[in-house]
């Protein structure tokens, strides 16, 4: 392990998280002024970006394999705990994406947060987050990955609760932390299970690693370990629970929409581009384990598909611009899971490329959408309700165009980047499982629809807000433009673009199935057209009812309230309490009756008892007598138990003497 060897090993990869770490330490300890802090954090991330590009370039070759650099961390009881870094196409692509998008978001935040008094703290946390994310992406040990995973969790907690004076932000941070903790428990179990089964944490170790063919074969050979899964499948299932928590999949999705309480760049960085992607990344990283058991892949794809549909439905009924995007993120993460699960079923190894490809493209356009939303929110005087926007297009041309570009990519409009990646997901779902395909397709249709709805609310009509619209500074729009170019222009170099799919997993992925292409065109264009039809000409605003609500009142209320999931969690518990309260009241009245009856009896007997039994028998004979005895024996005990320290010590010494003498007499 040599940090300075840039030619033979990949130990230098450590520098990539090390730069943000240095920035974190600097900002944390020296607390410089905000502007300076931003400069430091940006410079550190720029350095990481350059190194990441080098790493990416190293993997972008036909013969690129898996490069590792391991070292022994500690040796305990004959077990070597090894840590290390790994560089393979997945890592390279993720590193480049995370640092690039991260840098753009950092630049954006430099402007966005410039008025905030906690700017230094903000950049300190952001840098810490980058440390965790970059370390997570490149670590070659499941344990190390878990450590960075937790750092990411901590950083997200700190960032969501960045405005910790605001009660809702503090609550959201707590909610995020606790909810993801449930998933992390799963991850931890999987990790321990893996170590128990293979006694290594390393992922790639020259044939001995957890993800390499030898161990996988050994693990798959153990049948029916738990829930009918094989050894690899159990580990994969537990790891998937971790991913569910982190990526906001269905049962544990509740934290992600609330996490929008953080500053908008945080939402862009964490809840769109990187952190939530960590779960998807974990599945992609541990994909050989998932491949070993088809049941787990099925679970992954079903959970993903249901999440996608559910979140897309909920997004229909939201009015908060960031909340819509948050649900759309949940939905897209679900689609990524579909890509991984169904892709794994359809193309085995190729599933990695399908899921991860969508992850990469999504990172760009979702970051763009969040940053654009941030610009719009910023422009509208920190108003987040889309009913109070409108007509933004004419006032903020650049930001709006960029936003629309991101929206098109999200809708999978033909020849944008989102189109290509989503196409692959649908294709693999088509091959793997019909139901999953149709669910995913309807989720995609809804995606196009609710994005159109949102855009109609925000951009069309007259401005409905209160204050004047402010223009964004150029430091905020520049990242938007860059991201917009990336979101759109990826489609133009399409043939070259498809190379990424092969690059990511090393397996050529089939690109064409006409039915799917037709379906996805229909979905994208149909969704947008439907949206324009319903929302294009309608009167929108706080006082006007939503056009959908007009016709579908009850189902829409469900959507507006996010299917009452939060309320469900509350209601089940609360109901239980109420029911038990009623029961107790009933019981109590019964008891009251009993008590009254008994009281009558007792008062009757009391006279008799008090005179003969109580006074004579109990008082004089038993009670006083016993008390007297206890008191006397207590006096005896008190000689020993007198709370006097040296008295105890003396007893100890005497005991030692007795033991010693006994030893001397009998030990022969």
């Amino acid at each position: 392990m040599n940090l300075f060897d840039f030619s033979h090993s990949v130990g230098w990869l450590w520098w990539i998280p090390l730069f943000p770490l240095m920035a974190t330490v600097w900002l944390g300890f020296f607390n410089p002024s905000g502007k300076f802090a931003a400069a430091v954090a940006n410079a550190a991330l720029l350095a990481s970006l350059l190194l990441s590009i080098r790493a990416f370039a190293m993997t972008w070759g036909p013969e690129a394999g898996v490069l590792t650099a391991n070292f022994t961390w500690i040796q305990v009881a004959g077990v070597n705990l090894e840590f290390g870094v790994v560089l393979n196409p997945l890592t390279g692509a993720m590193l480049a994406m995370v640092t690039f998008v991260g840098l753009l978001i950092f630049l954006y935040s430099t402007s966005y947060m410039s008025r905030d008094p906690g700017m230094t703290r903000f950049f300190c946390y952001l840098s810490l987050f980058m440390v965790g994310m970059l370390g997570l992406v490149m670590s070659n040990s499941l344990l190390l990955l878990f450590m960075f995973w937790e750092i990411v969790g901590l950083a997200s907690y700190l960032l969501i609760g960045f405005w910790f004076r605001k009660p809702s932000a503090a609550a959201a941070a707590k909610k995020a932390f606790i909810t993801t903790r449930i998933g992390d428990l799963g991850f931890l179990l999987g990790l321990l299970w893996a170590f128990k089964a293979t006694s290594t944490f390393l992922l790639f170790d020259g044939g001995q690693g957890l993800l390499e063919i030898e161990q996988i074969t050994a693990l798959s050979a153990t049948k029916d370990v738990l829930f009918g899964l094989n050894g690899a499948g159990v580990i994969a299932l537990f790891l998937f629970i971790g991913a569910v928590g982190k990526s906001g999949q269905l049962p544990l999705h509740v934290w992600l929409p609330d996490a929008m309480e953080g500053p908008t760049p945080v939402s862009a960085l964490i809840h769109a581009a990187t952190m939530v992607a960590a779960g998807v990344f974990l599945v992609a990283r541990a994909f050989p384990l998932f491949l070993a058991d088809a049941t787990v892949l099925g679970i992954v794809s079903w959970v993903g598909a249901l999440t996608a549909l559910f979140a897309a439905l909920v997004a229909l009924g939201q009015y908060d611009i960031k909340r819509i995007l948050a649900y759309s993120t949940v939905s897209q993460l679900g689609l990524m899971m579909v890509g991984l699960g169904a892709g794994g079923l359809a193309l085995s190894e190729g599933g990695v490329s399908i899921g991860t490809f969508h992850l990469l493209t999504h990172a760009f356009f979702k970051a763009l959408l969040f940053l654009g939303a941030g610009a719009i929110i910023h422009g509208c005087g920190h108003e987040q309700d889309i009913r109070l926007m409108g007509g933004v297009f004419n006032r903020m041309k650049v930001a709006s165009i960029c936003y629309l570009a991101g929206a098109l990519a999200l809708c999978a409009f033909p020849f944008t980047s989102g189109y290509y990646s989503k196409d692959q997901i649908l294709l693999s779902a088509w091959t793997a499982h019909g139901a999953v395909f149709w669910i995913s397709a309807s989720a995609s249709l809804l995606t196009a629809f609710y994005m159109t709805r949102q855009c109609c609310y925000v951009f069309l009509g007259d401005y409905r807000g209160k204050g004047p619209i402010r223009q964004s500074p150029s430091l905020m729009t520049a990242p938007l433009v860059i991201l917009a170019i990336f979101s759109l222009a990826m489609g133009i170099v399409s043939e070259e673009f498809y190379h990424i799919l092969t690059y990511l997993s090393g397996i050529a992925v089939d690109q064409h199935a006409w039915i799917v292409v037709v379906v996805s065109w229909v979905i994208a264009l149909g969704g947008i057209a439907l949206g324009l039809l319903i929302y294009g000409g309608s009167q929108l605003g706080l006082d006007a009812t939503d056009p959908m609500k007009g016709s579908l009142r009850t189902p829409y209320a469900w959507l507006e309230n996010q299917f009452f999931i939060d309320e469900l969690y509350d209601a089940t518990v609360a109901r239980l309490w109420k029911a038990s309260a009623v029961l107790i009241v009933f019981l109590e009245s019964g008891i009251h009756f009993l008590v009254e009856t008994v009281r009558g009896l007792v008062t009757g007997m009391g006279g008799f008892l008090s005179k003969t039994i109580d006074q004579k028998l109990i008082d004089q004979i038993s009670f006083d007598g016993v008390c007297d005895r206890i008191y006397k024996s207590g006096r005896l005990n008190a000689i020993i138990q007198n709370g006097f320290l040296q008295g105890y010590l003396r007893s100890v010494t005497l005991g030692a003497v007795i033991l010693g003498v006994l030893y001397l007499v009998f030990a022969r």
């Binding site: 007198n642 709370g643 006097f644 320290l645 040296q646 010590l649 003396r650």
Partner: protein, 104 residues
């Protein structure tokens, strides 16, 4: 007649006993701590004596062990005295006779 292991063992036994007597009879809490130190030192003397008269003293096990013992004793002294200060602050006395909370 030269010095033998016996000399040191008996000396250390006597010193240990002196320390123990002090710990068991003095009422001042700091004196009690001092007596603990005396006992520890007597034990250290034993260790060093055994080492010196061992078959292979160049392995340095005796000094090593004593070094650790002294380190721990130093910690113990620091902690003990800190506790004495805490006790003094709480009870306003360091007379062992008056500190009887163990009775409860």
């Amino acid at each position: 007649m030269g010095l033998t292991l016996h000399h040191f063992l008996i000396l250390s036994a006597i010193l240990f006993s002196i320390g123990l007597v002090g710990a068991l009879t003095r009422r001042h809490i700091i004196i009690m701590l001092i007596c603990l130190e005396i006992m520890l030192n007597a034990a250290n003397l034993n260790l060093i004596a055994f080492w010196h008269f061992s078959s292979n003293p160049l392995l340095m096990h005796g000094p090593l062990f004593t070094l650790f013992a002294i380190a721990i004793a130093a910690t113990e002294a620091a902690l003990g005295l800190a506790l004495v200060l805490a006790i003094f602050r709480h009870y306003k006395t360091i007379d062992l006779e008056s500190i009887r909370d163990l009775k409860e």
